[in-house]
Structures are given as C-alpha cells and as structure tokens.
C-alpha cells in the first residue's frame, strides 16, 4: 500500500483540498446549526403551556377610557355567561374567581424583606391541566405567569442589583401570605410557587382554596368574574372571532402568536438549512473536480497499475480513503464548532427564556452523520467510476 500511495499522492493539490475542506465544513456547520437552533428554540414558542390546553381561550371585556370614567363594571353578568355557553363553538365555560380580600405576600431573602400586595384568582379545576399538589396545612400552591418572573429578572432585579432567580429557585422559596378580609379578619399562611404559565395571565390558586378563603374572609361579597375561560371545539373557528368582536370582548390569543412565531422560525430554519445543503453540494462538486483532475493527472500511473494486475478497487482505495478522511475531519470539526456556537447562543437564550431547556443534540448529530454518509458514498462511487474508465484504452 505504501508504494501505491507513494505513486498516487503525486499531483494532490493541497489548495484544492483545503478549498473543499473549508467549503464542506461551512456547509455542514450551517446545516447542523440550523437543525440544532431549531431544536433548541422551538420549545420556547411551540411548546404547549403545560397548565392550559390550546383549545382553551380566555375572554375578557375591553377596557375603554369611557368605562373607566363612568365606573362601568368589567365583570361578566350571568346572562352574558349564559349567552357564551349557548354558542356552538363553546363546549365548556368556566369563570375566573378573584379573591375578595387583600393579599400581602412577602419573603425574606438574605436578611432583607420584600413584600407586595397582590391578589389571587382561580378557575375550575377541570380547566387547569395540572393536578395541584396535595394541599399541606396552611400552604397554598400558586401558579405564576412566566412574564412576572421575566419582569422581575430583567426589569427589577437588574436595576436594584438583586439576584436573578431561575424558575427552580423560585419554586423553592416559601412565601409568607397575610390575607385580610372583611371586618379585619386575618389569616396567615404559607405559599409556594409550583409552576409558571405562559398563557394564564394571573396568580392562580386552586379553586377549592379560593372558595374556602372567600367564604371565610369575605362571606358577604359575591364575586363576579371579569374573565371567562372557554373550552372551544376548534380554536381556528371564525365564529369565535366574530362573536368576540360583536360583543366587544377581548380574546387572549397567545397560542395563535406562538403558532405564527413557530411557523416563521420553521421557515427560517428551513431556508438556512437549504443554504447549508447547497454549500455542501457545491463543496462536494469542488472535491469531485479536484479528484477527477488528480485521477486525470495520474492516469498513466493508474493505468499501469491496472495493467500489472491491480484491481480498480485497490487503486481507487487511496483516493477514497483520502476523501473519507477529509469528510470525517469535517464532520468532527463541524460538530465541535456546533457545540461551541451552541453554548454561545444558549447563554443568550437563557437570558431571554430562563426556563428554556436545551433541545436534544441527536437530530443534529444524525443529520451530520447522514450528510457524511451520503457525501462519502457518492465520493466513493464517483472515484471508482472514474478509475473504471481507465481500464480500457
């Protein structure tokens, strides 16, 4: 083999092979990055909110300047709710119940105390897509909007030099709750954040706790819902939009936005991947030209080897190994570069989506290996065919 290599390595152009190498590396890396970015970023938009299904929409009344001035109520009346229930698109309707008492939540962190007035809301359990953890005595499970945490991390904590909190850390903190109702009735409790929701724009507690606490602290007031949660048969139904418009309601269409973003990202990732594949294809073309030139320049030698009894497979082998070696190197370097770049963008992403979990690496690796196999396969075939043509005058 050494003598054969000594003969056939003549006329190998380092420049051409380097050109192929860089082009193929760029193509491969572009493809792998598009796949990996897609895997990493899509869950941030496309993932269904784990607390509320996409077939649920939330209705509220539009707040206009006039209604603020003349004190018009924003709550839904029983007849309005009955009307919504009567619509064909609605299969189930639930009311948001707000707490009828004051809530003050505080927590002590590193010696300093922070506290805020707030409120609770609940929806019927069948609309919450999570089983509430068993209520321990005096501890209330709470689901917070994810936006609140972002607001704190990027708006508040940053300017007040307070520590940023991940979702995991928040879930470990116990809140001190003071509930104050009619006639100075007061109740001290503990609260714990058990999850974050992207779609429910409220501080959610279990319906059973809400019912019980309203009864104890505000027995005389009758809560009127300002928001309604509706399970619809088909979220894309036009009837929903026209009904909402006719009645001056607002609809929370978060899920629709996420859907559009996901779609857009898919297209962008697809375009980037296509460009990467195109670069890969062109680099493959460069390699083939280079190898063909090499075979042509060494045609006499190759022919002599064939005529003294070397098989086409045997004289093809050095060039095939050369291309496979290059392809392996490209694959390894592309994966290494992918991991490095991914680390860079993940750090940025985590600032925007602290809860984002990394997507799997497997799809990108499989795509890389698939490209390697396809490119190597065609390299091997093309070299062999080129050399077969030398066997006859």
């Amino acid at each position: 083999m050494n003598l054969i290599w000594k003969l056939l390595r003549r006329h190998i152009s380092a420049g051409q092979l380097a050109g192929f190498f860089l082009a193929n590396l760029l193509g491969m890396l572009t493809v792998l990055l598009s796949v990996q970015f897609y895997e990493d970023i899509i869950p941030a938009f496309g993932g269904e909110d784990s607390f509320i299904k996409n077939t649920y929409v939330i209705l509220s009344k539009r707040i206009a300047a006039s209604s603020t001035l003349n004190g018009e109520t924003q709550s839904f009346t029983d007849s309005e709710i009955a009307e919504i229930e009567g619509q064909r698109f609605a299969s189930n309707v639930g009311r948001f119940t707000a707490s009828q008492y004051q809530v003050y939540a505080s927590l002590s962190m590193g010696g300093s105390q922070m506290g805020t007035s707030m409120f609770f809301e609940s929806v019927p359990d069948e609309f919450v897509d999570v089983t509430w953890p068993p209520q321990r005595d005096g501890e209330v499970p709470i689901i917070l909007p994810r936006a609140y945490l972002a607001l704190y991390n990027f708006g508040f904590a940053q300017s007040q030099s307070l520590p940023k909190l991940s979702e995991g850390v928040v879930s470990m903190i116990q809140l001190d709750l003071r509930l104050r109702g009619e006639g100075g009735a007061e109740q001290l409790m503990k609260g714990r954040v058990v999850g974050f929701s992207t779609r429910l724009n409220t501080v959610l507690v279990p319906a059973s706790f809400m019912q019980q606490s309203n009864l104890q602290l505000a027995p005389s007031s009758k809560p009127q819902p300002t928001r309604i949660i509706v399970e619809v048969k088909n979220p894309a139904d036009d009837a929903i939009a026209s009904f909402v418009q006719d009645h001056g309601y607002e609809i929370d269409d978060n899920s629709l936005d996420a859907g559009r973003t996901t779609y857009f990202l898919k297209i962008v990732a697809g375009i980037v991947m296509a460009v990467g594949l195109l670069i890969s294809a062109l680099s493959f073309y460069i390699l083939m030209l280079s190898i063909f030139l090499l075979v042509q320049k060494n045609a006499d030698k190759l022919q002599n080897l064939l005529l003294i009894g070397y098989s086409p497979a045997r004289v093809s082998l050095p060039y095939q190994l050369l291309t496979i070696g290059l392809n392996v190197l490209v694959l390894i370097l592309a994966i290494a570069a992918l991991l490095w770049i991914r680390q860079l963008y993940l750090e940025r992403l985590w600032q925007i989506f602290p809860a984002l979990s990394e997507g799997p690496l497997t799809p990108a690796l499989l795509v890389g290996i698939a490209i390697f196999i396809v490119v190597s396969f065609f390299n091997i075939i093309a070299i062999r065919r080129k050399i077969n043509r030398l066997t006859k005058a």
Partner: protein, 214 residues
C-alpha cells in the same frame, strides 16, 4: 489457462485492406502452454495491437480471441485482474515502469501484490542481470537497457501460464540478452508455462518451436 486461440482476428484499422499476408491475422493461431513462440513483425503490422488485445487493454479487432474456450470479449474487469495477477504475465515494450520509484520499488510494486518471490530471490536477479548497484537508483536515472531488465524482473514476480514479452531485449547486449533468456526459460519451465516473444529483428535467443509472421 492452457491455450490461447486467435481466430480470424484483424485489427479494425486494417479492415478493408486486401494486401494482408500474415501467419496470424485472419488465420487460426493456437498458442499452447509449455511451448515457446516467436512472433516476428515489421513495423506497422499490428504487433502492439495484438499485445493490447491479449492483455485486455483494447478490443478494437474483428474475429475472436479465446483463452481456453472463453471468448475474451466476455471477460469482466475482475477476470482480467485475476488473469494479470495469476495467469498472464506481460513485459511491455514501453515498459510501463514508474520513473519516480527506484528499481527495487518498481519490482516490489508487483511482488507486493502477488507475494510470489522472496526478497533474496529478487536480489539474486539484480546480481545476475548486473544491476545490483542500481537497486536504489530512481528509475528515471537509468538507461533504457537497465530499465528493460527491471521490467523483466517485474514480469517474473507472478505465477503465469503464459508470459508475453514484447521486444524484451531491444536495448540489450548479447550477453545480457542470453542471461535474460536463460532466466525466462527457467521460470517458464518451472511453471510449465508458455513463452510468447515478439521481435522486429533483434530477438532473444530461445529454442522457439514455432515462429509466426505478422
């Protein structure tokens, strides 16, 4: 392989010519294992073409050529590779050596493929042919006569039923020519092989049993 039959063959470039008088073209020629043949030719009578047909490099001829009972047009590349390694040795007129390798490496290129001869044996050939001191010389720096001896040794580095030597001694003196002839006979006898030598005048001194004129 026991015999080579050339049946009514004619290079296509000669097609239509009426002035061909040859013992080989458009005749039936049978070459058998264990015998020694000379093919004498004048320039331009198709000697190189015949050799190219027999080694499977060209097939632009009319008529048929058989190895045993098999028409060689039916042979696949894999068959030719096997033949060139195991049954049919060919010393090219144009040598087809590798100028960037040394004399020794040129012989080894073949012997590594077949593992037919020991290094000691090849060394003794270099001695006998009087080029032992040129073993590590790049082929490009050797005279054609020296290169012919290298090509000859390379041709012996394989088992064969027939050895085809295309003007093997065109650039050799009588003495070296005789040594080469003796080595060739020796190798062929040991394997019971047939020898086919071509010549356009100055030919190797061998006990030819039959001479064909092209």
């Amino acid at each position: 392989m026991n015999k080579i039959t050339i049946l009514n063959a004619l290079p296509r470039v000669f097609a239509g010519r009426t002035d061909i008088s040859s013992d080989t073209w458009q005749r039936e020629v049978v070459l058998e294992r264990g015998h020694v043949y000379l093919i004498e030719a004048a320039s331009g009578t198709g000697k190189s073409s015949l050799c190219s047909y027999l080694i499977g490099y060209r097939d632009d001829y009319e008529g048929q050529i058989f190895f045993d009972d098999r028409d060689i047009r039916q042979l696949h590349q894999a068959d030719w590779t096997q033949l060139r390694q195991r049954s049919l040795s060919y010393m090219f007129q144009e040598l087809r050596l590798f100028p960037e390798l040394t004399a020794w490496e040129n012989v080894q290129v073949k012997n590594q493929l077949t593992s037919h001869k020991s290094s000691a044996e090849i060394e003794s050939w270099f001695e006998r042919l009087g080029i032992a001191d040129r073993r590590t010389t790049k082929l490009a720096h050797m005279s054609f006569g020296q290169q012919q001896r290298v090509a000859f040794m390379r041709a012996l580095c394989q088992p064969f039923d027939f050895i085809l030597a295309d003007e093997p001694v065109s650039h050799l003196d009588k003495e070296n020519s005789a040594i080469m002839g003796a080595m060739l006979l020796d190798e062929a006898h040991r394997q019971g092989a047939g020898i086919i030598v071509t010549s356009i005048g100055h030919h190797m001194d061998l006990p030819y049993e039959k001479t064909f004129r092209l």
